[in-house]
Point group: C2
Chain length 252, copies 2
DNA sequence: CGCACACTTGAGTAATGTCAAAGAGTGTGG
DNA sequence: CCACACTCTTTGACATTACTCAAGTGTGCG
């Protein structure tokens, strides 16, 4: 059921690079540039960035980075879904965020990664060596401003999620999760949107601070109440979006 | 019991400003400059900053800003403790952080405040009008870098707190809270540090995603186990810091 | 076709929340 | 200075949500 979601290989990239007389770079044919941090860059800075970029695929379930490892690479997600998480010594896990197309992972990077990252689905990434990236950052106020903006959004999102983790009920948590997915740009914004759940129930539970059984039961109950329709276990139609939004907001 | 912690008035500031031939500014005699974001600024930028600053006290329990209000002012805490929080419609509250001396509130400010802020104790602040601050920020890469750094730290702290809220037990949460306070710069770093709790049990509970009763019971149990000594209800001696740290870390 | 894996459902439990009352510290007014 | 009132904290008894353990169901893949 964990669908592979294969992507077209991009062997044509190299050719294109040669044809235009420029160094081949994954950026030349990048699908997500328009929604990524790099979109903010001017031509000159952008070519410096594309000069240091390389690309790398990851299989589903593959670890991308681990908390505590030296932060030598910064990543941008080109396709697929990545989870960021922290763990306790006995294995309890808290997922602190999911990254999708165009999302950047590397903002809070000190010299070591503060969170682990694992591919939820097969993932394509472009990556930048830390040192070279930092040098570019030092020269480019535009880039710095953009990353600052991303970091600020991250803080707001994190605080939002703290409210969810600390104060919402299981029902409210799951409703928040589903409606947040429906609000994502890649999801059709219809009155009854249909959301993909590329992550397992375990991952949803680890994101919401619940157990897998509670997530499953809560979704089943939404189904019984006619709020959602489970097309498959990883594809959910939000039949009553407004009602779900009310539940998510913690309305009495 | 919520002690007032009175501060010396600073009427002498104006005199000092005149004596040195510069415009009077709270910055001239600021106690916390060395630990605040403004410390990063060069002389010229610093004088621009001190030209737009004003200072304002708040009483304990007084609201400083409210979520959703237009973000017209940015604050720096000079003394006292401030809580940042979000609420659900029915009043459930999640405190997302406490600010102390030298902490800046205004990093994630879009055009509206994303969280509410309230004085936990009497607080002295210095404040900057948003527009003027933004203009200074646009001219000062140093300032921007510094705020970026603060924002990144904020992200790391927020993720840490997500792990606590989503996956730690009440016992682990309270131990984490106490040991985190002990790690603050203003707390003596002895083997058995004594921490002040300027906030009420309700506020501790709202920070840890618990109820006031659970917080109280957990602290009482720590006391019964000899891990802490309650000197008063808002002053706790961490008698067995290492044991508390182990509990906080979620060691088996 | 059947194994493997993820998901669902059920029954019982435990941690934490709720409701209630008593205790302790602080400030006020007689 | 003491008594009272107020608030915050602590403690107790009970309720409930969500967790744990366990069995069963469904779906995809070899």
């Amino acid at each position: 059921m964990r669908e592979p979601k294969l992507h077209q290989p991009r062997n044509i990239d190299t050719l294109l690079g040669h044809r235009t007389g420029r160094t081949a770079s994954p950026c030349d044919t990048c699908d997500v540039r328009s929604i990524s941090f790099c979109d903010a860059l001017e031509d000159q800075e952008f070519s410096r960035l594309s000069a240091i970029v390389s690309s790398r695929p990851f299989e589903g379930r593959q670890t991308i980075v681990q908390e505590g490892d030296p932060a030598e690479w910064l990543f941008n997600v080109v396709s697929g879904t990545v989870k960021l998480y922290r763990t306790l010594p006995d294995g309890r896990t808290q997922i602190v965020g999911f990254l999708g197309e165009g999302d950047f992972m590397g903002i809070p990077a000190a010299t070591e990664y503060a969170v682990s990252a694992e591919a939820v689905t097969p993932v394509e990434t472009c990556l930048f060596p830390r040192r070279a990236f930092d040098r570019l950052l030092a020269d480019s106020p535009t880039l710095e401003r953009r990353l600052f903006e991303l970091a600020r959004n991250e803080v707001v999102a994190a605080r939002d999620h703290m409210l969810l983790l600390g104060r919402k009920t299981a029902r409210e948590k799951v409703a928040s999760f589903l409606t947040a997915l429906a609000a994502r740009p890649q999801c059709a914004h219809t009155p009854t949107p249909c959301v993909d759940l590329p992550m397992t129930r375990t991952e949803i539970a680890d994101y919401l601070g619940l157990t897998i059984e509670t997530v499953s039961r809560t979704i089943s109950r939404f189904r019984d109440e006619g709020l959602v329709v489970l097309q498959t276990s990883d594809r959910v139609l939000l039949a009553k979006l407004d009602a779900l939004r009310d539940i998510a907001a913690g309305a009495d």
